[in-house]
Amino acid sequence: MSMNDLIATIKKVLEEVDVVLGWTRSPAAGVAVPARFHTPDEADGAIFDSTCTHNLAVHLPRLKNSKVGIVAKGCDARSIVQLIVEGEVSRDRIRVIGVPCPGVIDVKRAWRCFGFGKKIEDAGGRVHMEGRSMPREEILLHKCHQCQDQEPVIMDLAAGDVKSVTPPPPPDKTGIRERFAAMSIAERREFWREQFSRCIRCYACREACPLCFCRDACSMQTREPHWTGGQVNAIESEMAQQVRTSHLAGRCTGCEECERACPVGIPLMLLLEEQNRIVEELFAYRAGMSLEDKTPLLTYDVNRDGGWR
């Protein structure tokens, strides 16, 4: 896919929508940042590269009254589908532009390795910044490893050949996930206490999540229901996160935005990935795969349920 393909497609979609959600490069950050294109001129700044980590679907419920075009990676498309299934977004108000995604990189980790703000480039299987480089598979977001959803499940137009992408390699086996899997239950209890002790309850996890659309009423911070106290401490913060996790059961598409957004690096996806795995195991269901789906915890199947144990 060339940038020109993308720009041309956005311009075409702009003929029928009010705004297109896409990415542009921030000169200061050296990476992609979300952008809204209202005019063809603005669309000239559109880019797509492996720093386009943000899931732009999060903006759709906030733009209920506009016709919106959206540039979507395969994983983002699942969020869009789930939002439509849940009635938060109406299909006829949106135009989805699919992009061929070879996986996006963990920008924060790149910054930690290279320093913030210089232009990050992804070429020849390596991620480069000012003359230094590292293999891209070492710095991909976890969700991108062995991604099953490179071709967007919902798409009106494609910018480039969304089927041509080669799947990224499996993740390195030394990461936090493997260590977590090997922990005893008591060690996990300690692990979460430690992790949530640095939570500041900024709710970036929630705000970055396309499916946390209750926002202002969110019971991570309400007193009615009073699931969790307002104190910023490991116990209350963990409970708050359990509230969020539980509300995403059968709805989370695994876009990893919560974990990416977390400013203190709490590996929230350990919980959500496990929950998604359980939901798939029990109900053969992955959220956001079909407009016809019913969210598994909002339905039941008399004939199949209960054979689990």
Binding site: C214, D216, A217, C218, P225, H226
Partner: protein, 650 residues
């Protein structure tokens, strides 16, 4: 201003829970201004003490620690209502059924009771006054099952001027009683007392009779059920059929005679017995040559009334009812697998008592002559064996069938009347004859009719030279007994009727360990169920004889009449409500609501949820489905439940 009342329930609670310590602990709980222990809170002086305390101390919330709320919640709501409080500002704490009765250590039980009271205090502190709503009542009753209980209930309700639909699964009403020859202890002719009642049903202006019909789906709730009834195709146009029986005579397809317990033979198209109501033929497709081989239509050709319609299809009728009486009766225990030493059904002359009843009956297949099935000979020595599939832990059936002792005596008497030189032997465990005139009756069987009672079980039955050798024990004499019998009659236990379990599920009523339908309370709610507006009559609730079935049917009818004489019913105020300011309009609540009680309403920024209170039944599914919890179940709000959890663990 919270009051805590701790019931001693005589010694029921006080023997295991130190009510004084509970009172002391309650006094230090937040908001509690009054705590006392009362010997019997539910008694008149007990209730008066509560009302006095409310009025003197100005209580606004009450915790009642005592029996299960399922027992007396209504009692105490009324009591505090009489004291001028909102009746829903009450929390009942169960320290009897779920505490004093199941624990023996006083310290443990008291500690638990205190925890539970603290939980109750926390909960009622967060309770808001609620106002009961009302819903209109549909003045029509449904009676399911057309045996003697169903007939009695239908007639009693109809006589009170309330329309009744009587649904019967088979093609005629009458049930098991219609099969009986005589009834104990008066030896009334069963048909003679039942058939007039059956005809009355048919002719009653307030009764709509639906035979060949079953309840398929139940929606709604007390006062407002909406029920689908499937009327199965019988290939006979009911209005046209005159009951002339020509079709049955000419029908070439043989079929089992279910009514006569297969003592005789019937046809694919038939009327089960001559007093059937309605007197209308039905065709059983599974035996009909036309439906099996594709060629016949004899009945259609011979029917003078043009009543045969092979194309007839099932129809599903949806009707509204205010109340339901279940009177599905009983079935018989299938003994063949469990008692292998009795021949497992291979000896034709080992029969159950209901089949024997048909052999005794003048309207039966033999015209009232007792013929044994194997060779049609009149038997001389007849052995009755009691408690087959009753009172027998070894086959998993511990309960008493409650009628076996009596009908064995009856059948022994009738046998002697039919065949004066016959000899009846009755193997029994105990003779249970507690009803009015019952014991005298069983004694007459022995003294006046010569029945020989042998206390003991039969170990084995085997054929020898055209007879059946019955080997048993006489436990009184301590001897082995061997009787050469011509016929063996088994007093088999009673089971719920076929399909009763499924029906119970459709009606949301519980069943007991043997599958009989569970009454609301074993003593105080013998005809009610745990589902409001659904009542029980007859053997569907447990084995019983005719007078008990009729009495229960009358009681059920009285409950229905009482219920349906009200124009409106009070509905529970514990329904869901939406905080529309916070609702994000995702409608997950609507997705899970079993009652369609959530609708969308327009608000400033799009649509929000709204609960139609009259449809909401208060299950709380929506409350859990709502991520921000802005739809909440009144009386069971998240914060109430959270407070219960937090406080009970303190």
């Amino acid at each position: 201003m919270l009051g805590v009342f701790v019931c001693q329930c005589g010694t029921n609670i006080a023997a295991t829970v130190s009510t004084d310590r509970v009172v002391q602990a309650a006094k230090s709980m937040l908001g509690v201004v009054h705590a006392e222990s009362i010997q019997y809170t539910c008694s008149d002086p007990g209730q008066r003490a509560i009302i006095d305390a409310i009025q003197q101390k100005g209580l606004t919330r009450v915790v009642m620690a005592g029996c299960s709320p399922r027992m007396h919640e209504t009692t105490f709501r009324r009591a505090i209502g009489r004291a001028g409080m909102n009746p829903f500002m009450l929390e009942m704490v169960n320290i009897r059924e779920q505490c004093s009765w199941i624990h023996s250590d006083i310290d443990e039980a008291t500690e638990k009771a205190i925890d539970l009271v603290r939980k109750g205090v926390a909960r009622v502190r967060r309770q808001k006054p609620l106002q009961a709503g009302s819903s209109p009542v549909t003045r029509r009753a449904l009676v399911i099952g057309g045996g003697v209980a169903g007939i009695q209930a239908a007639l009693d309700i109809a006589d009170a001027g309330i329309p009744v639909t009587l649904v019967e699964k088979s093609s005629t009403i009458g049930g098991n009683m219609a099969r009986l020859d005589k009834t104990f202890p008066s030896l009334d002719c069963s048909s003679c007392i039942l058939t007039p009642r059956m005809v009355e049903v048919k002719q009653h202006e307030n009764i709509k009779l639906m035979v060949n019909s079953e309840v398929e789906k139940v929606r709604g709730y007390i006062g407002n059920f909406e029920i689908d009834i499937r009327k199965k195709a019988s290939c006979v146009i009911e209005e046209n059929c005159t009951g002339c029986l020509i079709c049955q005579e000419k029908c070439p397809s043989k079929a089992p005679d279910d009514f006569n317990v297969c003592a005789g033979e019937s046809k694919a198209i038939s009327i089960p017995f001559s007093q059937a109501v309605p007197l209308v033929a039905s065709l059983r497709k599974e035996y009909c040559r036309l439906f099996i081989k594709g060629k016949c239509s004899v009945c259609q050709k011979v029917c003078p009334a043009g009543a045969i319609d092979y194309e007839q299809e099932d129809i599903v009728v949806t009707e509204k009812f205010g109340a339901v009486v279940v009177a599905t009766g009983f079935g018989l225990y299938d003994w063949k697998q469990s008692y292998p030493t009795y021949g497992m059904g291979m000896y034709p002359d080992v029969i159950n008592a209901l089949k024997y009843e048909r052999l005794l009956s003048a309207s039966g297949p033999t015209g009232g002559r007792i013929e044994r099935p194997s060779d049609g000979k009149e038997p001389r020595d007849i052995v009755f064996i009691s408690c087959i599939g009753s009172r027998d832990e070894s086959v998993g059936r511990p309960q008493c069938c409650s009628i076996g002792c009596m009908y064995m005596a009856k059948q022994a008497i009738l046998t002697k009347e039919h065949i004066p030189d016959s000899q009846s032997y009755i193997f029994y465990i105990d003779v249970r004859a507690a009803g009015k005139g019952y014991d005298e009756f069983t004694r007459r069987a022995q003294t006046d009719f010569g029945a020989i009672y042998i206390r003991g079980r039969v170990g084995k039955i085997y054929p020898r030279g055209g007879k059946l050798v019955v080997m048993g024990t006489d436990t009184l004499a301590g001897d082995q007994v061997e009787i050469e019998a011509d016929l063996v009659v088994l007093a088999t236990g009673l089971t719920p009727a076929e399909g009763a379990g499924q029906l119970a599920r459709r009606l949301n009523i519980s069943t007991d360990g043997q599958g009989f339908m569970a009454e609301g309370h074993p003593k105080l709610k013998p005809v009610e169920t745990n589902t409001g507006g659904v009542f029980l009559a007859g053997a569907c609730q447990g084995p019983k004889d005719i007078p008990a079935s009729v009495a229960q049917a009358g009681a059920a009818a009285a409950k229905v009449i009482g219920l349906l004489s009200q124009e409106e019913l009070e509905t529970s105020p514990m329904v869901a409500e939406v905080n529309q300011l916070k609702c994000a309009g995702c409608f997950k609540c609507r997705d899970v609501c079993p009652y369609g009680a959530v609708e969308a309403q327009d608000a400033r920024d799009g649509q929000v949820a709204h609960v139609i209170a009259s449809l909401c039944q208060g299950c709380g599914l929506c409350n859990v489905a709502c991520p921000p919890g802005v739809i909440s179940l009144k009386g069971y709000t998240d914060n109430q439940l959270i407070a219960e959890v937090v406080e009970v663990l303190r």
